[in-house]
Symmetry: C2
Subunit: 312 residues, 2 copies
């Protein structure tokens, strides 16, 4: 079976410094190239939380001290993070493929993800980004820049941005063309640069699109067979961390919804992954979403492990 697969990697797996990232992507590349070597067509999506946070903080810090560095809006920081992460990731995949005598083109496409300007997420921003501030600094940012700031677990104040749902991928034709021509594409990095449509314009908005939802969207667009959402654990569990803990092999959409309603999955952690998996699985009969760890991705595709969410 040669499947078309979209793999969603976590940004936390990419490290906090360029050197860490270069080292970590080498390990990331191996299971990805296993999938490629077995004949699957793989497209990669990835998070960028720590990386865009770092870039945003650096730009912010510098704009206050260095005369010739401007303030950098958040979507532009996201665009930078796609170049930065894609550069390392594509090289690690290229090297791993060449080491196995696989010669397929691999490239990063700077990708914008379109969100609805009326998405209710814009009413109440919830996603913390960037540095911590004192209450006074936070008040200044609210007044001067109109930022939304919240107190974060006693560690200080942070800016929060909305986390709207992806509705389309601006560069979808480009990604499709490359995938149809057997290229390995890195796309929707960090969930994509968030933009809203205004007539013929695409306008960047300070927001963070969940990378698992963005991966689900591009998987739909590509008519993928599988969406693999990688996480730290091999399977999804209910009653996680209790004596009734139970690891799940397979979930129908109804079962997944029931477990969500029962509060089994942590918001900001397993919940968005399960929801993104459901979103993809429900988009068309036969589409399968798999939640597992990077190391187990291939065994998961072979049906040996992971949690499969299917539309039955």
């Amino acid at each position: 079976m040669h499947d078309k697969i979209v793999v969603a990697l976590g940004g936390n797996a990419l490290g906090k410094t360029p050197q860490e990232q270069i080292n970590l992507v080498k390990n990331t590349a191996k299971p990805i190239v296993d999938l490629i070597q077995h004949g699957h067509q793989v497209t990669l999506a990835h998070g960028n939380g720590p990386q865009v946070g770092m870039i945003n903080l650096a730009m912010d810090t510098a704009s206050k001290t260095a005369a010739s560095t401007p303030e950098m809006p958040f979507p532009e920081c996201g665009a930078m993070s796609q170049g930065y992460i894609g550069y390392h990731l594509q090289n690690a995949i290229r090297e791993e493929m060449l080491g196995r005598n696989i010669s397929k083109p691999v490239a990063t496409v700077v990708t914008q993800v379109i969100v609805d300007k009326n998405d209710e997420a814009f009413v109440k921003p919830t996603k913390p980004i960037g540095a911590f501030y004192t209450e006074e600094e936070a008040q200044e940012l609210i007044t001067e820049k109109g930022f939304d700031m919240v107190e974060d677990a006693g560690r200080g104040y942070r800016r929060v941005v909305p986390s709207p749902l992806p509705i389309d991928v601006a560069e979808k034709e480009v990604v499709k063309t490359l995938v149809d021509n057997d290229c390995i594409v890195i796309t929707v990095g960090g969930g994509g640069i968030p933009v809203v449509k205004d007539g013929n314009k695409l306008i960047g908005v300070p927001a963070v699109i969940d990378k698992d939802f963005a991966s689900s969207k591009i998987a739909e667009i590509l008519d993928a067979d599988y969406l693999i959402i990688l996480t730290a654990v091999e399977k999804v569990a209910i009653n996680f961390g209790t004596k009734n803990e139970k690891w799940l092999d397979k979930l129908t959409l109804e079962e997944a919804q029931q477990y969500i309603d029962e509060g089994h999955f942590a918001p900001g952690s397993m919940l968005p992954k399960v929801k993104a998996a459901m979103m993809f699985a429900s988009s068309k009969k036969g589409r399968k979403a798999l939640i597992t760890s990077l190391e187990k991705a291939e065994e998961g595709i072979e049906g040996k492990t992971g949690t499969l969410i299917i539309n039955e």
Copy 2:
């Protein structure tokens, strides 16, 4: 005549801040889309001098002051600049096309350009990048980081990096696939992320590849008909700025070489443009390189203005 064209834009035309860049790319997009509207297949390359300098300075400034921002190597800053510039440029072109009912995919490919590790440029770095330092700071950077530092016209010390020649484009298959499928591609941004080959690895090196040479290389790879190198003037001149000033309509390779030998073209300004134009024109019979201004690009293709360098 529907030609395949590579257009090389200067980084100075893109502005120093995100807001400047968003405004400037709107004007840049118009003549580019004129070419597209007249049926030409256009691929875009661009410089990144001011932008990568800004990113490099910001990263450098922040790494000294903010605890959680790492030092960022120069090639990674280049990768960031490709995302940052490509994001704005692709949107401006998209918007201008949609305004004329042209619906072609446009996208930025994060692009690495391979240089020879034995390029003589590595022996004597000449290209200044980033901030100005005092003599003491410069000495420290030489000792601690092994940077090459030079005194820059009384304004202080700056880091210099080599400017090696491009020998190949790592993502060429991806760019070719997109161009063959009628996509507008933004590639080799800033001359490309400079990398050397080491077995199966591509390793980033602190260097700046001249964007006109990189444009010539990708134009060769794409088997383009035209390379258009955009500059501030409509034509190339000899005896520039003197009473014998003469604007040139057409140059054979021999004439161009003769004028170079006579010292007509300023290093770091018109000289690399003429050399890059010659490199492309000499790569195959029939290939034409045009040096002109952004506004005159289309008239140039129609043979009405600009300086054409041809292999006769």
